[in-house]
Subunit: 283 residues, 6 copies
Amino acid sequence: MPLVPLPDLMLEPLVRNALLEDLGRAGDVTTGAMIATHLRWPGALVARQPGVVAGLDLARLAFRMMDPAITFDVEIPDGNFAKLGSTIARVHGPARGILSAERTALNYLCHLSGIATATHALVEAVKPHKARICCTRKTTPGLRMIEKYAVRAGGGANHRFGLDDAVLIKDNHISSAGSLHAAVRHAREAVGHLMKIELEVDTLAQVAEAVSLPIDAIMFDNMDPVTIKKAVDLVAGRFITEASGRISVDTVSAVAATGVDVISVGWITHSAPILDIGLDAAK
Amino acid sequence: MPLVPLPDLMLEPLVRNALLEDLGRAGDVTTGAMIATHLRWPGALVARQPGVVAGLDLARLAFRMMDPAITFDVEIPDGNFAKLGSTIARVHGPARGILSAERTALNYLCHLSGIATATHALVEAVKPHKARICCTRKTTPGLRMIEKYAVRAGGGANHRFGLDDAVLIKDNHISSAGSLHAAVRHAREAVGHLMKIELEVDTLAQVAEAVSLPIDAIMFDNMDPVTIKKAVDLVAGRFITEASGRISVDTVSAVAATGVDVISVGWITHSAPILDIGLDAAK
Amino acid sequence: MPLVPLPDLMLEPLVRNALLEDLGRAGDVTTGAMIATHLRWPGALVARQPGVVAGLDLARLAFRMMDPAITFDVEIPDGNFAKLGSTIARVHGPARGILSAERTALNYLCHLSGIATATHALVEAVKPHKARICCTRKTTPGLRMIEKYAVRAGGGANHRFGLDDAVLIKDNHISSAGSLHAAVRHAREAVGHLMKIELEVDTLAQVAEAVSLPIDAIMFDNMDPVTIKKAVDLVAGRFITEASGRISVDTVSAVAATGVDVISVGWITHSAPILDIGLDAAK
Amino acid sequence: MPLVPLPDLMLEPLVRNALLEDLGRAGDVTTGAMIATHLRWPGALVARQPGVVAGLDLARLAFRMMDPAITFDVEIPDGNFAKLGSTIARVHGPARGILSAERTALNYLCHLSGIATATHALVEAVKPHKARICCTRKTTPGLRMIEKYAVRAGGGANHRFGLDDAVLIKDNHISSAGSLHAAVRHAREAVGHLMKIELEVDTLAQVAEAVSLPIDAIMFDNMDPVTIKKAVDLVAGRFITEASGRISVDTVSAVAATGVDVISVGWITHSAPILDIGLDAAK
Amino acid sequence: MPLVPLPDLMLEPLVRNALLEDLGRAGDVTTGAMIATHLRWPGALVARQPGVVAGLDLARLAFRMMDPAITFDVEIPDGNFAKLGSTIARVHGPARGILSAERTALNYLCHLSGIATATHALVEAVKPHKARICCTRKTTPGLRMIEKYAVRAGGGANHRFGLDDAVLIKDNHISSAGSLHAAVRHAREAVGHLMKIELEVDTLAQVAEAVSLPIDAIMFDNMDPVTIKKAVDLVAGRFITEASGRISVDTVSAVAATGVDVISVGWITHSAPILDIGLDAAK
Amino acid sequence: MPLVPLPDLMLEPLVRNALLEDLGRAGDVTTGAMIATHLRWPGALVARQPGVVAGLDLARLAFRMMDPAITFDVEIPDGNFAKLGSTIARVHGPARGILSAERTALNYLCHLSGIATATHALVEAVKPHKARICCTRKTTPGLRMIEKYAVRAGGGANHRFGLDDAVLIKDNHISSAGSLHAAVRHAREAVGHLMKIELEVDTLAQVAEAVSLPIDAIMFDNMDPVTIKKAVDLVAGRFITEASGRISVDTVSAVAATGVDVISVGWITHSAPILDIGLDAAK
């Protein structure tokens, strides 16, 4: 599964907003006061922790939108693992622009690489099994597009991108509809032929009821691995199975061993620590 | 230090953007298909972990901008500690709107409460000492304004808000200016009388050189507590002292014991896990 | 399938933009010069042609955003048929605001009702059959969200909302991938478990090849009804079948008679004439 | 009357918005999964129907904003007639970008060329006469600027661009002002010396009353050609005469034969079908 | 000529932008730290200089958008003369919001009232004559809409609002077209029947040449009153005459005495000093 | 103090907005109708008054954003004095673009150069003394960033950029807090270590009370030079002193002679007349 970059067109508004947030109303006063206009620098983005890289296009845009004269050369592309101390990318150009854009570039790169690295740890942990690691809608407001991209960079897959691109029927919907059956029927009538319907269930009894329904996927919410195994067996390949709920690097392998197709994890987007990457003067 | 809310005017563009990101091009298809228009619900935002609350104005706006008929009543205001299981706020109104706004409201509230809670842990840890806990510019791109607010909610203080509201002289600036002295002189000439100048130093030799310079603050970067103590003594109250660099909840007390005025910590904004808060059907 | 409204939050930016486009840099100079401030009017939006209504929320917002004192009462809601001369909605309030917003309100309402009416004609034409009428991505740039809504109002269903919410494999993709099989395999690896994959084919030979592939839907492009019938039989219910290509009100019934599941039609969004609706002084 | 292009600066925000509407939150997943990064293509925009071209600048921007490496060479410029099967423009460059921008480029080009073609049909139909064909404010919300441009491309002229750039006195204004005379006097007092005043009338009696008023133009609303002829004669060249109201390609010649100066037609912007233009692999 | 207000819809984006510019990333820190939440104040906007008021809608929106609980009551509406010390409007409500919005409200009000007052001085100075005072396109970038409104508030009239709503043929255009005659012919062909054409001339010879051309207005650029008088006589009422170029309050009366219809003055928008208005605690 | 330019990234949104404000919905109709596409021109921005230049980056962007083929070469950079008749910059390129951007470029350049020139006059007037000339928050709404830049170009310094980057305690705050002492204490608790606190006082009694408070600066509001002198003596260098209130070019020297550190002047941003700069055909 090769990683597909997002077009610059989708990233530029985000980067512009972030740069302007940092430049405020007077720009980089420190750099303006002290760094000569003509000064040019080579710099290197260096991994201060090992991990999977994500966000280089945003970093590149941060430097280039600050000053188009800055060049940006990638050594370890998004989706690849950077060892401790390795150079991820090189920048070269006017020192003023490099310094002024540095923090914004790193804030994106460290945040997204943190998500990719957390995802990757889960992907590695389930490797003997077929289960794919998947994110949720628990993302940082305004950054969903790039955080879901970082999950892909880490080897994970994406769940719904929003409330509008798939149906996910939860307990509140079921109780309002009156029954699993009625809820699924309402959904099927409401959506077009290219939208999937997933049903979230809490109990094996619900799984047993669900197996005859025209759904595309079923989510087992907060079940232990033993129960998930029974649920997977009940479904018997009729539709895609997903396990969800407080799954960590330590417990994910046991979940994957149940044979479930997808394991969705919220913390890879909402609570992954950054990957520490810094800008060093290049040798 | 009472916590001052940000005006809705500053928050509305953020919340609108986040809601639209989730609604996409078709809105909440699941809720539309299954939840009756007339259905009204009471709901409660409940702490699933103990911690300090921050972001209730954003949560309120998420619900109210989705449907002005939703009421939102705060029980534990921003800046206060919520015990496990306690109700932080109550929502009441059209079920469709509550369900469609739920994820956006929680994404803001959990993220900012996570930052406030992390800040609060550090603030508590340094309590016998005078040191204030302070954030950095290592924030999530586009969210600096509200992340800095969350730091205040957790009892911390704010560092620079951007490149433009204070001078922070780092090694690159010094080397370009030629000397500490020249760098500070350039800064003093460049900025108005309401902008402060802080100098970042790595060694005690630099501290000794700095004590005679017209600066407002000095940052000791990546020094151990013993060295920080010596640096604080050298400065002898001439200007504000700040310690920075990889300081954790475990080590912060030793740093504070040096007598330093400010301890700045990047991870409270870039790597704090969320505080888990959920929306329950209210009793 | 009840029609689900889009939240005002999603519509307001569109309506604001359209009103400002019309107000320009000096506002409504004619109304300002001649209509007294205190004058209040009742008005009625009246169908000058029979058809299906769509876009009343946009019309309401146009009047209300121009002047919050204007009331707007719907008599024939979106998705319902308005007979010639029937009153669709009533406005009442300051005459200045009603006149200044009139054109924008009508431009939305007539355009979307035109799409709903065209869709409805096709839906009626296929009624004895199971086929659903579906739109395409051939929409007016910037208006896709509301044009797809108008299709739903007319009783139709929606195809993809964009390039990002489903895979649609066309001839160019197949030739680049090397084979139908390779193309589908690449797609399956690339997307998450909630994204569907549809394959567009031109010949029965391709259909025969496709039946063993793990796809969710197949589109028969520009086939005549006899060929579509054979294709539907070949697929034999393995996945959803869709017919596409220059299908008119006159020919749609024959296509539906083939047993195809979905009939997609571009002209309902890109070439439907408006439904003529006017604002009359109310009696 | 040479056709004057709109500066890219005016078009870029529209094209950006349309591209992002299509790219959604994940970009073009099909193309990303199947089209090799290095693949380059020549393509041709080909007229699948004969008609007048309009919108090439928007099509060019769609491709170039998606990928600046795409070249775009025009063969039949805006305002010219494309015969069936003729190549309107050629694109060359990265296949991914061409495919991702294709639909947006065509949606603009087909829509605007449809307007230009409809306008052109009317212009041709009135050719022996002096009457100019003119559009109205019945445009697609948000697209007025480019739809009015398309009317110019088709050989037509533009009416008001908004409520602010000319006075158009209608029945409601007259009744509020009390008389034709009072309405015109109010208008004359209200506006600057570079804004024109047009009066809309329904009857010959009104025309007779209007001839002595200081107006710049008069619109005969929904009059038959015989009545229009009388009205034109009454005006006797004192100011510009305009005929309006349900004028089709079949009836326009008779209207023009009355000697009226301007014939305004709403349907060329609100109900013209697209001109079918497709993107073919170039030979 | 009653002054017509601009709808709030047109003003809100400007006011939001200005408030956010002042609130920055932390809001009003002084007020937040010192003013109690519950404190309510009455305040009065008081004229510290005599002059014509303009901009009260913007001031009202500044207070109301900061806090909807603030009431705003106008005593001296836009377009009226405020004597020294008179109360123009009263505000009442939460002190925090009043203080935070004060500067933005006053910046708009003082700037626009300054323009209205300058315009009014010219209008008074030409009173025995028929000449109208008119602004130019020399406005503050981004504020043209409201500065042209302020000119109207001061009793003046508006020239073109932009490059697009009237033709103004200057020396460069004439030299490119080849002759006055050719320039006017090109213009007449290019524009619709509701757009006026004005010709700018420098010499009486040009005026003599212009009198036979189909233009709507003529501008005498930088002519002295004696020459203007001759030019006006040459035109003899064929079209509107305008004088322009470095006309002050002292010289405007002599220009008006020539019988010219319009006198356009750039400095009323680009160089008028503010009218000093302050916010006092109300008695 | 070398003048530091603002990055293009900060200026582009302003310039785009201003150009679009002028281009409206049809672009530059005069230029489009009369100036040949191929015509290229050299032009010169010439000082029609002597003064200090500011805003060349905005002028350059106006031309370049209208047409990237236009070159812009600076002869007298921002912050330098242009003698009457001197060429400030040269433009060369397509005549259409130059003419269409001319007014926007000049509106920025004349406005900001006017501010720089006014500032410079004050700076020159206080030259024998140490006092720095400083602006206020009385700026044109939406233009604060560039007006504060223009003050720097004129040799002045900047006060607060907004309500958020420094504390300025005024009479209202003091009365709400209860005392000078309480107000300052509240402020000190509320803000981080990089934010300064300034106290505004009206009387020598207040100055005497303030000298023992932990503030960074004190503003003497509307005091005469004799009183200011006493106030400066009372402060005795404990913190920065600032004089404010109706200070003109004529009176500023006397104020500076008191030994005050900073003299802040509102009129340099809110009431400075433009510096007249025009675009001439270059020789």
